[in-house]
Symmetry: D2
Subunit: 332 residues, 4 copies
């Protein structure tokens, strides 16, 4: 098994999906060990660091990558299996940012009201307990279990586009779903030769919806297996865990993000079970779990999940997830 | 403990929230044992019964109620604790209905396309196994565990309005969330003297989003405890289980349903924890669970949940849920 | 021609569409002369009258009516021709209302920001010039031509519902379109025996969208002709002027209001021109005018208009508008 | 006055805003005479040419440009004055495209219904009459006055992005508003050195909303004056005609497109009139005209307009439009 290690210097960060040359080439089957900087590009380090002073817009969500996958062609399916996602620092940060977030007017949901105040929270990590500590202004401390994940996982977009690393869409990107944790396989449709995927935006934990716009943002050490499936590129990002199959749709308004994820899942269920789409629609209606991912980004993201335990045995992508799960065991 | 039993005759069904006289008066602290007809008013009984032929619109979602709660005044909080929700028949039904549902054009999301075909599925209940059986057109059968719930739980609306039992809004109503299962307490703000609450639309199980517009629709035998909290009426329906506190927002577009549930939860967390709203916003961002309820009704509904295990000990509504949980034990 | 005059006493105001008995019965062909109170129920009379102090929610948008139209049955079409709409006072008022309006967070588009300040503007009417005067805080005065219209024109809703007079929907209601001016005919589908229509919410002028939520709100003296067309009830309110045919759709999100108005217009054009719906869709694409009505109410409203000059001669509803135009001449 | 003429060969078309090198450099004050291919890249030429067979996706909306404007820096304002926009052919085309358009499910507003049929309409231009002829399937012909405009006018986007020429956003792009006709000045905020603007997507006429997704699409001969204003770059595209000032907002849902255009106009009015934003909000509420632009593209676009006749004399951008209007006279 090829092992590729990569820790970007700041000048090597990618700030977009597409539009930048690969930092490395990897062959399908490789193990990739990377470090990712936090969404703030490491500029928010204390409660005195406020976004409007400390951030250098639009330099947020720095990506580690892109990686060129040998042999990947448009229409193919990139499979990324997250072997481990581990906090690379003993602290993480979150902030409110003026006119950004889900419970404030923004540049699009434009209102005439004053912005919410800026505030920064620093979360200290207790590795032994596996917790990060939320501290309120009045001193109340609440320890929360970590649940590390990546907010951004994406390939280069189609149609010659280059998108900011703040954007989630068909190419993945800034989906901000807590489902993107260690142990899952993410399937992305390939749009350009080499796929050119990157990851970043590690969250030590995140609630569904990511209301204020920033999770518990922290640097990560992440290990992933890279595989390629010829053809079969899905229209929207799919995720498979040991227990569930999932689709992530991203759009506005939020119902369209959900619709996209549902229609894709209807097709997937119909294929896996050999039933017609109307039957798959009916079945999905009774078995779907639909947790929100983000309601704060340029597109909102919604997840449709189905528990494997509710279905007859199915082998998504010919059992790729199980195969990668096995491969991963050998790496640890 | 007063015990009130009520099984409506068909001519006693209510088809609206508000606008009809109570079928009974109950005192706070009473135990209520009711039967509810299914959402189709019992008119869909075989796969040959198709909605456009069998339903008598707008006579769907028949309500059992309304019940007048003695002493309830506008501004108060009605607490309904679901002791048990049990299938009253050995079968249930689901259908696709032309131009109704989440993955089709509708009268509002109006398109020029042909409607999806009508189809009816009958689910047979296996009480021993606790399953209902989905059967596809090609004969594939999938047994799904039941998870009984009520799609509609609501009080009379404010501002002199009368709303169809298909509508979810601040008064509750047709929220269609799987969280409304036995063991939870639902808190509703009272808008009119007596509250005038009703329930209906039993689902033997339902996926989140209720994509096709109809769940596994079945008649129910339901037992609930009725309590009244003076004042403190919440802006949006709240639900408490042993493990979680929840708010249900209902609006269009879907992000507004989510926003409403989130802002209500921010205020609730701030109150329960004694922190300011900006801190509550931050905390919620990291701990929220946001499963969708419905994306098919006249308003869409989204749930915001917080696990009690993540919080310091809190006593919502002065411990009403625990109290009712105890009371319920005595009834079984 | 029967002439019915009606000026409600305050205790006769209707605050809903549906749910109240008629104030009078009128026969088709009648001339109706009414007075309508302003949207604030006359409670905002000086710049010192601020909404949170002066208004008695939900008592806004008082309706004059409802009127029972003899012979009107569900499925019929009510035709209301506005002969004249004239300011009944020499002043009118507008305000900002906390958490209400198009450019602020609201109870649905819920945010955590502070509300915009409350402010009241009084517009003085110059009858000779036909203007109302906007006066800014810094003393700048801008005289604006009046263009009197009714924000609310509606019938009782279907499905046993009673809706606040703040709501626009299929039954008309609070559409808040400047197109509802003297000289037009409004066609509404009848939902209940007698139609039970009412009007109110006079605006001395209003911009499209009604951004801040309140127009130049004033009492009106209005004369209208009432006619009945058996059957043919449209799904959405239609308006006909000498120059244009229009449909008003009301929904959220705003694209659904537009879609509803467009699909209804596609059907209308197909019928009037004898072409298929795909051709009508194409034609509408090239000829539609789509001014917004309101983006602040419980549903947003969008208008689709087609200029008659662009079409071959058409006779909507068998020439009802021309007929009423002629009838109106005899009344003045 | 420098005069630059440019007619792209097919291999010179740009398919994006940003991401391609300029085809020419122009100095502020230059007159630019260009030819633009139609949105279909000239591939739809008869009613037998159907989109799925004839188009080469994503090669639609070919742009003429981009042009590098000497001295333009981020934060500046590009002023493009359309001197003339004239049909370059004697015919134009429109189509329905599967799962594209305003009155059909799409990849985002995803439904399970069958697509609408594909159909192509060819419009013949009568230059003497100034009309194009719509022809229905049943032979009905309706002559419609031409009203030539450009669907796309845009600069390179900010934040390193490259966007498809199908996208409207803050950088302009595929706004598809009929207001972009000869005689207007379009103001765009500059995001990259040289601005890198392009135009394309000529419409011989278009209704507001562009319901089916394609207008009367035709090649154009267009003359425009290019000017540069240092600084003052607007957040959203602005348009000025002799009679009106306008802002175009683009977003989803449609209310956000409208909100963006309104908030930008509130700020513009406050600046032009020297009043506070709350007064500007009030004034705009009473004077705005809000015609839709498109409800079919990747973002929807809405226009907010104010008639100059309703305002005291104002000089937007220090009278740039009047100046360019005068300059234009000298060129004809």
């Amino acid at each position: 098994m090829d092992v590729v290690e990569f820790r970007p210097a700041p000048e090597q960060y990618a700030w977009t999906f597409g539009g930048v040359p690969p930092v490395a080439r990897v062959t399908p089957g490789s193990l990739l060990k990377v470090w990712t900087e936090d969404a703030f590009a490491g500029r928010i380090r204390s409660t005195g660091d406020l976004p409007t002073r400390s951030l250098q817009m639009p330099d947020v969500n720095p990506q580690t990558g892109p990686f060129h996958v040998e042999g990947a062609e448009p229409g193919d399916t990139l499979a990324l299996h997250f072997v481990s996602i581990e906090p690379a620092r003993d602290w993480a940060a979150s902030t409110t940012i003026p006119f950004f977030g889900g419970l404030t007017g923004t540049d699009r949901t434009a209102t005439l009201q004053e912005p919410l105040p800026e505030r920064t929270w620093i979360y200290h990590l207790d590795r032994a307990k596996g917790t990060v500590a939320f501290e309120a202004s009045n001193g109340l401390v609440i320890e929360l279990p970590i649940d590390p994940m990546h907010g951004t996982v994406g390939v280069a977009p189609p149609a010659r586009e280059v998108r900011s690393s703040l954007v989630p869409d068909t190419f993945g990107g800034n989906m901000d779903t807590p489902e993107m944790r260690a142990g899952v396989t993410c399937y992305l449709g390939v749009n350009v030769p080499g796929a050119l995927f990157s990851i970043g935006d590690g969250h030590y934990r995140q609630g569904e919806g990511e209301a204020c716009g920033t999770a518990v943002e922290g640097a990560m050490n992440t290990t992933l297996l890279v595989e390629l499936i010829k053809g079969r590129g899905p229209a929207w990002p799919r995720i498979e865990s040991d227990d569930e199959i999932m689709v992530v749709g991203s759009a506005r308004p939020l119902e369209d993000a959900w619709r996209a994820s549902q229609v894709e899942m209807v097709g997937w269920l119909a294929e896996l079970l050999g039933i017609d789409r109307l039957d798959a629609y009916q079945l999905l209606t009774q078995v779907a779990r639909c947790p929100l991912a983000n309601v704060c980004d340029t597109n909102y993201s919604a997840v449709t999940k189905v528990a494997k335990a509710l279905l007859p045995p199915v082998r998504a992508f010919d059992g790729m997830h199980s195969y990668l799960r096995e491969q991963a065991k050998g790496t640890m």
